[in-house]
């Protein structure tokens, strides 16, 4: 049994719901690192915490908002994006970040994911990819590398995983990045960039899940996966995104970087223009 640890003081206590500690994440899990990076990014963003909103779906990663002391919305499985869209349209001044897992955002929520990016809503999307369904006990999902074992793939998966940076870039997102939980400073920097982007900013964060992914796939501890991230990651902002798919068995490098960073009118910009032209016509 892991020993219960109560946080009594922490430099980020002002943005942590300390009364909700201890959190539910396993030892070696990477989600806490993403939370730490998000809190740092909020602090450095220059946007007051009252204007930041975090929205999630269901899963281990989606528990993150509950621990961050800002307006936080923990919605239904796969539906964080449409919820965030409604909020963003009504209050575009809010800095909305959706943080959820791979199973949530691109497996059950895949349809909302592609359409949200296509329409270029002004939302930051941080997808924590741990290659597996954690909360439900280690079943495979749409990012599980082919051949991986999972509780619902005891003989290894036969489906092909998404190459997310390629998918998102193909949909025209103005910001596309991938980092791992090993790249703390780069991740904070990418989050800060995302908050400044006008339109949809997407960050994939590769993160260890020793309990459910690592256990059966040769990464028995979080530390071992972090070492793998360190060893195999290659930073290439200019990477050809067709080549950045992930294969954790073949010795293929993990390509990380801020792949796309461009200007593009957001959905809100287009809406404002439409409203102006309608009003002009009615005069």
């Amino acid at each position: 049994m892991p020993k219960e640890v109560l946080a009594t003081e922490h430099p980020d206590d002002d943005l942590i719901r300390t009364d909700r500690m201890p959190h539910i994440w396993c030892p070696g899990c990477g989600i806490g690192i993403v939370m730490k990076c998000y809190i740092k990014a909020i602090k450095r963003s220059g946007i007051p915490p009252e204007r930041h909103v975090v929205v999630s779906g269901i899963g281990c990663s989606s528990r993150l908002p509950g621990y961050v002391n800002i307006d936080s919305y923990h919605t239904t499985h796969g539906r964080a994006l449409p919820f965030a869209i409604g909020m963003n349209l009504v209050k575009p001044e809010l800095e909305i970040t959706v943080i959820a897992g791979d199973g949530d955002l691109v497996t059950i929520g895949g349809n909302h994911f592609i359409h949200t990016i296509r329409r270029n809503h002004d939302i930051n999307v941080v997808l924590i990819n741990n290659f597996i369904y954690g909360m439900t006990g280690g079943q495979h999902g749409a990012t599980t590398p082919a051949g991986s074992k999972a509780t619902s793939a005891p003989y290894g998966t036969i489906d092909n995983p998404f190459n997310l940076p390629l998918l998102v870039a193909s949909l025209g997102a103005p910001f596309v990045a991938r980092w791992t939980t090993f790249h703390v400073n780069q991740l904070i920097d990418a989050m800060l960039k995302a908050m400044k982007v006008n339109g949809l900013a997407f960050i994939e964060v590769l993160s260890p899940c020793p309990t459910h992914y690592g256990r059966d796939n040769n990464f028995p501890t979080g530390l071992e996966m972090m070492r793998y991230f360190k060893k195999m990651s290659v930073i290439n902002h200019e990477a050809d995104l067709r080549t950045v798919d992930i294969d954790l068995r073949s010795g293929k490098p993990i390509i990380v970087g801020n792949f796309v960073h461009k200007e593009k009118p957001s959905y809100n910009d287009m809406w404002r223009k439409l409203v102006e032209s309608v009003r002009e016509e009615r005069k």
């Binding site: 909700r20 009252e50 800002i70 809010l94």
Partner: protein
């Protein structure tokens, strides 16, 4: 603010358009939806009208996204609505449950068509009455209005918004293909005579320590919106009054009891029925929506034959006005429940009534004519 809204006056208007215009007058400034027959006119009309009145319209990728966008918009402070029909209503059920659990006001219009499954998309049905009540999992109390005219498409849409804002929960308007597509007379009263209810917001500053977004001192807690500074946590998980997930049986008991009792304790205020020729009636029709229209005529025809017929029309299907049904049943020899389904609202009627209750189950695709209902009245009153 009445600029750009449908002016007071007399109109000959389609039910779906009357619903959309009423929503705007009620203060609706956000609509998210997905096209589906026979509700699409509401979506189309909103896409035309909302940019004119400073609101937001978005066509989403499906009905799941539509209801979730509506809930997100409402949590940002906008009165929000979506409209759909059978299959889309099924897809929305998970989101409706989330709205109930997070106490998020919004209005969902379900224009009922023939079912099950894809059924008869272009023709009438009333097969979703139980789904409106029990469609999402777990315990909550649905509030459901059933219009039977173009005028009620207007009046009850406004009422649905008001009730939703007052009790902080999704409210459902159950129309049907005929009422929605029908053109009928509509009187829009002067706007200042229309009652508009807005949700209560917290009356304490965000700086107070231990602000509780679901404060148990209130029957309906004031709603802290995103960006107001209260730093709320809102979750579909069973939560305490701080909004924090908690799974003790004590918290679960508080949570679900709170959700159902805010409606149950006020059911008598919410109930609405129409009593038609009931005074001395002993053969009583209990029905709702489009099916009440032939029933008026059937009751009059039965009266002309010397049968003491009458009708109790349900305007709120849920919460079910059980005490009213019981009281009416005391004077009845028999209650007939005509509905365009294989027997749904007959169940709560049977539960409440002290007399014989018979159903008139009519398959979707057509409205029973007055003659059909009259035949049943004759048969049972013998």
């Amino acid at each position: 603010m009445t600029e750009g809204l449908l002016p007071p006056g007399k109109y000959f208007m389609q039910g779906n358009i009357a619903c959309a215009e009423a929503a705007l007058i009620a203060g609706c400034r956000f609509f998210a939806g997905y096209p589906i027959t026979p509700s699409s006119e509401i979506l189309e009309w909103m896409s035309y009208r909302l940019p004119q009145v400073g609101g937001h319209f978005i066509q989403m990728e499906d009905e799941i996204a539509s209801i979730m966008a509506v809930l997100g918009a409402s949590n940002a402070g906008a009165k929000s609505m979506t409209a759909t029909s059978g299959p889309g209503f099924s897809l929305m059920q998970e989101g409706i449950g989330f709205g109930m659990m997070t106490e998020t006001p919004c209005v969902i219009v379900n224009v009922q068509r023939g079912g099950p499954s894809t059924g008869i998309p272009t023709l009438v049905g009333q097969g979703d009455m139980m789904q409106a009540k029990w469609g999402s999992h777990g315990d909550y109390e649905a509030i459901v209005y059933v219009p039977n005219s173009v005028q009620e498409m207007f009046d009850l849409t406004i009422k649905a918004f008001n009730t939703s804002e007052e009790y902080r929960q999704p409210v459902i308007l159950m129309s049907d293909q005929v009422i929605s597509h029908m053109y009928g007379s509509l009187v829009v009263p002067p706007h200042e005579e229309i009652k508009i209810v807005n949700r209560k917001l917290p009356n304490v500053p965000p700086s107070i320590p231990d602000f509780k977004p679901f404060d148990s001192r209130y029957e309906v807690p004031p709603m802290a919106l995103a960006g107001m500074g209260y730093r709320v946590h809102v979750t579909g998980l069973t939560h305490d009054e701080r909004g924090y997930p908690y799974y003790t049986h004590e918290v679960s008991t508080w949570c679900v009891k709170h959700l159902v009792s805010k409606v149950r304790n006020n059911a008598k205020k919410i109930w609405e029925v129409e009593r038609f020729m009931l005074d001395d009636a002993d053969t009583i029709i209990i029905t709702y929506g489009i099916t009440s229209r032939p029933a008026y005529q059937a009751v009059k025809m039965a009266r002309s034959e010397g049968i003491k017929a009458g009708m109790l029309r349900l305007i709120t299907a849920w919460p079910f006005p059980d005490e009213i049904v019981r009281e009416v049943s005391e004077q009845a020899k028999v209650i007939i429940v005509p509905e365009i389904n294989m027997g749904q609202m007959i169940h709560p009627v049977k539960e409440a009534a002290e007399c014989l209750v018979v159903g008139l189950s009519w398959a979707p695709g057509a409205v029973p004519t007055p003659d059909v209902i009259l035949d049943t009245i004759r048969a049972v009153s013998r």
